[in-house]
């Protein structure tokens, strides 16, 4: 019976991690789909969100303020980054976009290291979600349960923005056919800036929400970035539903494999990715032609 409880608890862990990955990947995939830029600094932005929230928490002691700060800070960072750097790279080859975002990611990580040192920092969960919940067949950390809910709400908001607003319509149209959107007389410049901001915000929000689960270090974004790539490859680049499906699959693979042997978590993840690449090269919910 102990194993059974362990299994369910890992299933929950997988759900929490999967929801988180889905959110981060949605940000990455929206940016890529609309702007055609793969942001290698996305993991660093996840980390930045955590640290911005941590700073706000230290100042106010409030979890809500921390989440708001981490989220808004990344919205601003994303918009500035698009305006100052990314904008000049739309017409340049993909390699240059990868190089410059990779470089920016390193700058973010090292800047945080300079300010906060390499030591790990802790943001405690809010009082409401502190402690452990008795689920009758097992005990489970309350905050992790809450993370699933919080992230689900965030994904819902993102869904509403993408599928129920004018901006979302433009973003989805841009993913379908960016040339066409350009010629529709839409102020693409501003839309692009906002989209990059929203995508970064998703990573930042995930970063601060996740901070109470794991302790913060400047490198925390690196592993997340790799997992996000796998999610996107599995789900299909540019697809919001794909990011969610890919996120949940990846989260469960990592968690359930970890139960047996953590060392093989990545191997299994990679095997799943290879399988998808062999059977559906464009990802589970991806569309052919977008590369």
């Amino acid at each position: 019976m102990v194993n059974w409880a362990n299994f369910v608890s890992q299933l929950f862990n997988g759900l929490a991690l999967g929801a988180l990955l889905a959110l981060i990947s949605s940000g990455l995939t929206i940016i890529y789909g609309t702007l055609g830029v793969l942001n290698l600094a996305h993991g660093a932005m996840f980390m930045l969100g955590g640290y911005a929230g941590f700073a706000a928490y230290k100042a106010t002691g409030s979890y809500v303020v921390a989440v708001a700060a981490g989220t808004l800070f990344l919205l601003v960072v994303g918009m500035i980054m698009e305006r100052v750097v990314i904008r000049h790279f739309y017409k340049r080859p993909h390699e240059d976009q990868l190089l410059v975002t990779f470089g920016l990611g390193i700058c973010f990580v090292e800047l945080v290291r300079l300010i906060f040192s390499s030591d790990s920092q802790v943001v405690p969960p809010p009082k409401l979600f502190a402690g452990i919940t008795n689920l009758h067949f097992m005990f489970y950390p309350t905050y992790r349960l809450a993370v699933v809910g919080i992230v689900a709400i965030a994904l819902l908001v993102l869904f509403l923005v993408l599928y129920r607003t004018r901006l979302g319509l433009i973003v989805r149209a841009g993913i379908e056919d960016s040339v066409m959107v350009d010629s529709l007389g839409i102020n693409v410049d501003r839309v692009f800036m906002v989209v990059f901001g929203i995508g970064s915000m998703a990573a930042g929000f995930a970063g601060i929400v996740n901070a109470p689960v794991v302790s913060l270090t400047p490198e925390v974004g690196e592993a997340i970035l790799v997992q996000t790539f796998v999610v996107v490859v599995i789900g299909g680049v540019g697809s919001f539903p794909g990011a969610i499906l890919g996120g949940l699959i990846s989260g469960e693979i990592i968690s359930l494999t970890s139960m047996v042997d953590p060392a093989y978590a990545y191997v299994m993840l990679f095997a799943a990715m290879t399988l998808v690449l062999m059977l559906r090269p464009h990802g589970l919910l991806g569309v052919k032609g977008r590369e």
């Binding site: 993909h94 190089l99 300079l114 060392a263 978590a265 191997v267 990679f270």
Partner: protein, 628 residues
């Protein structure tokens, strides 16, 4: 020192000699600048690691963030052999490590190269991460896990009368320098080989590279394996250098540092990674040691890197090259103030060549005795292409006889280009059959079809933009002379029998001989159009399709191009799509008229000229569309 050019202008061997001189001089010069021997040795290892990566990234255009996997694999295999397995001979162990890395590279390449662009970058990152975890945990029994493998011995060289033992510092330097030098020699051979030429073509325009008949997937895999082999050998050297194989060779940071060093130094030059590593390691020493910046050095490097990517796209070597070119050009302008003279000779050879082209000197298609196919060389039956609900082509029965010059006309949207794309197998028909020279080619790849002798010049230019005119034609000719894929990695391009002649004849045919060393970006529009035809022509096809060769040309250019097309058509079968009906009537014997995805009419030029339905299709068709 422009290693990206196929036809080098400097004396042969000069790069090799300069490299040797620099490597020999380094231990005498560098100590004067207080360079630590260990830093210099590390630069050489990074430089060697980077040579292979540059072939992958700089030459082939594939940016991998997962090279640490092969660096680590090669290093661990060599170190394991030398420490745990008690293997006595260092160089042999290094070579075995290299082979292991190459094999792993081949397997990884099979997966990673299923996709290109950003997908490729993401997949390589993910794969490298797997290697990191596997090395740390399941394989820690062999790799020492997080402790690595200590006690890697240094090499000795037995000269017959004396044994040299390379230990550390400057004593180890000659061994590393020799390895680096051999690495450079091999890499130079590779980038000057036909394979190197195809790799550049893949970087510039993968679509066209496969359309002229190269199996680009196999070539990409080749570049990937070469990069893995270099990484594996360098990884082994890392263990030798440190007398310890560190597990952090497998980290993402290793891959990242390699990418950054290559971009800083300059991609596509082979020496870029060495320059980048020099800048990186000396800056690190300087910032950490002299300025006492501690961990902040990486932030400074990151900022420097971002600025470099922003402003110096081709890195330091690229900047030096540009500066040198700029000075050289200024020097030339100053020496020869009559710049107008430059422009005049361009026209003359064009006319002269056109006049000189006679049937006797034209390239006859070498592809399989054409005369055997006196009847239909191409035949389609019921060819249909649907895109969702839209029918682009429907039920096309079409036959062209060997030696014929056929024109296809039709209003915009008649499905002409789709029809051509199906013939060259760029798109596959929804239903129907294509038979070329008696062989069913339906469903074959564009590469195979080109190899059979059927190719096309594109409606929108598909050229290798950063290469010169001669290099462009060379790449197309190579596909015909070498087939889909061949691993002649060490053979010099210049030594391929028949290549030179074929390139020259092609250039002559399309009247670009005088411009052969100009990069595509400097060509006038008409010249680019002619080169587009030249690329198709260079593979000496027996059936040549031309998609709107006259589009966008001035009336005078049209007259010349029609003349040129006439001379090309000697001894080969051609199908031309164009909207310039008058030119087409002058060129072709028979005309096929397409309308709304179907063949409306077919006949001699005179029959078509007088036909009412054709007039209706062109003029009436337009009205119909307007009304709809």
């Amino acid at each position: 020192m422009n290693a990206d050019r196929l036809y080098s202008t400097h004396r042969p061997g000069i790069v090799e000699i300069l490299t040797a001189v620099c490597l020999v001089a380094a231990p005498f010069v560098l100590p004067l600048f207080d360079a630590a021997p260990n830093t210099v040795n590390r630069i050489l290892v990074w430089g060697l690691f980077g040579i292979g990566f540059d072939i992958l990234f700089g030459y082939t255009g594939l940016l991998s963030f997962g090279q640490s996997a092969f660096y680590g694999t090669g290093g661990m295999v060599a170190a394991y052999l030398l420490t745990r397995a008690g293997f006595p001979h260092v160089v042999t162990a290094l070579v075995i490590g290299m082979v292991a890395a190459a094999v792993v590279g081949y397997l990884v390449g099979l997966v990673a190269l299923r996709r290109t662009g950003i997908y490729f970058a993401m997949i390589t990152v993910a794969i490298a991460e797997v290697f990191f975890f596997v090395e740390f945990n399941p394989l820690s029994h062999w790799t020492g896990g997080e402790n690595g493998l200590p006690g890697v011995p240094t090499p000795t060289l037995y000269l017959g009368f004396k044994t040299i033992h390379f230990t550390n510092g400057w004593s180890l330097y000659p061994f590393l320098a020799l390895c680096y030098f051999v690495g450079v020699l091999i890499a130079l051979r590779i980038v000057r080989s036909p394979v190197g030429a195809v790799l550049r073509a893949i970087r510039e325009n993968p679509l066209r590279a496969s359309a002229v008949g190269h199996n680009i997937h196999a070539y990409k895999l080749t570049a990937f394996v070469i990069a893995a082999a270099y990484a594996g050998f360098a990884g082994g050297l890392l263990g030798v250098l440190q007398a310890f194989m560190p597990p952090d060779a497998f980290t993402f940071d290793t891959s990242g540092q390699l990418v950054m060093q290559t971009a800083i130094g300059g991609r596509g030059s082979l020496f870029g990674p060495l320059v980048g590593a020099t800048v990186w390691l000396f800056l690190q020493d300087f910032l950490q040691g002299t300025l006492k910046l501690g961990a902040t050095w990486k932030l400074v490097l990151g900022l420097v890197f971002v600025l470099l990517v922003f402003f110096l796209r081709q890195g330091i070597i690229g900047a030096i090259r540009d500066l040198y070119g700029w000075i050289a050009r200024r020097g030339r302008v100053a020496a020869k103030p009559a710049a107008a003279q430059d422009a005049a000779p361009l026209e003359e050879p064009t006319r002269a060549t056109l006049a000189r082209v006679e049937p006797a000197t034209t390239m006859t298609p070498v592809h399989h005795a054409n005369e055997l196919h006196t009847g239909a060389i191409l035949q389609t039956t019921g060819l249909t292409k649907r895109y969702g609900g839209i029918v682009a082509n429907s039920g096309i029965d079409f036959t062209v006889n060997a030696g014929e010059l056929r024109g296809i006309i039709g209003p915009n949207g008649a499905g002409k280009s789709t029809f051509f794309k199906m013939l060259t197998c760029e798109v596959h028909p929804t239903s129907g059959k294509i038979v070329f020279e008696g062989r069913d080619i339906t469903g074959m790849s564009v590469t195979d079809v080109c190899q059979l002798g059927l190719t096309k010049s594109y409606q929108v230019n598909q050229l290798f933009n950063r290469l010169t005119v001669r290099e462009n034609v060379t790449i197309a000719a190579l596909a015909e002379l070498r087939g889909r894929f061949r691993l002649d990695l060490l053979r010099n391009l210049v030594n391929i029998p028949g290549l030179r002649e074929q390139v020259e004849r092609t250039l002559e045919l399309v009247a670009l001989t005088a411009r052969m060393d100009a990069p595509v970006s400097e060509l006038a529009y008409g010249e680019k159009r002619r080169l587009e035809v030249g690329l198709a022509l260079a593979s000496s096809p027996s059936l040549l399709l031309l998609d709107e060769p006259l589009a966008g040309m001035s009336p005078r250019e049209r007259v010349e191009t029609v003349k040129l097309l006439k001379s090309i058509s000697q001894g080969r079968t051609m199908i031309i799509i164009d909207h310039d009906v008058d030119s087409l009537f002058e060129l072709a014997e028979r005309i096929t008229v397409m309308h709304q995805g179907r063949i409306l009419l077919e006949g001699t030029t005179d029959e078509i000229k007088g036909n009412d339905t054709v007039q209706e299709a062109y003029l009436g068709g337009v009205h119909e569309v307007d009304a709809a």
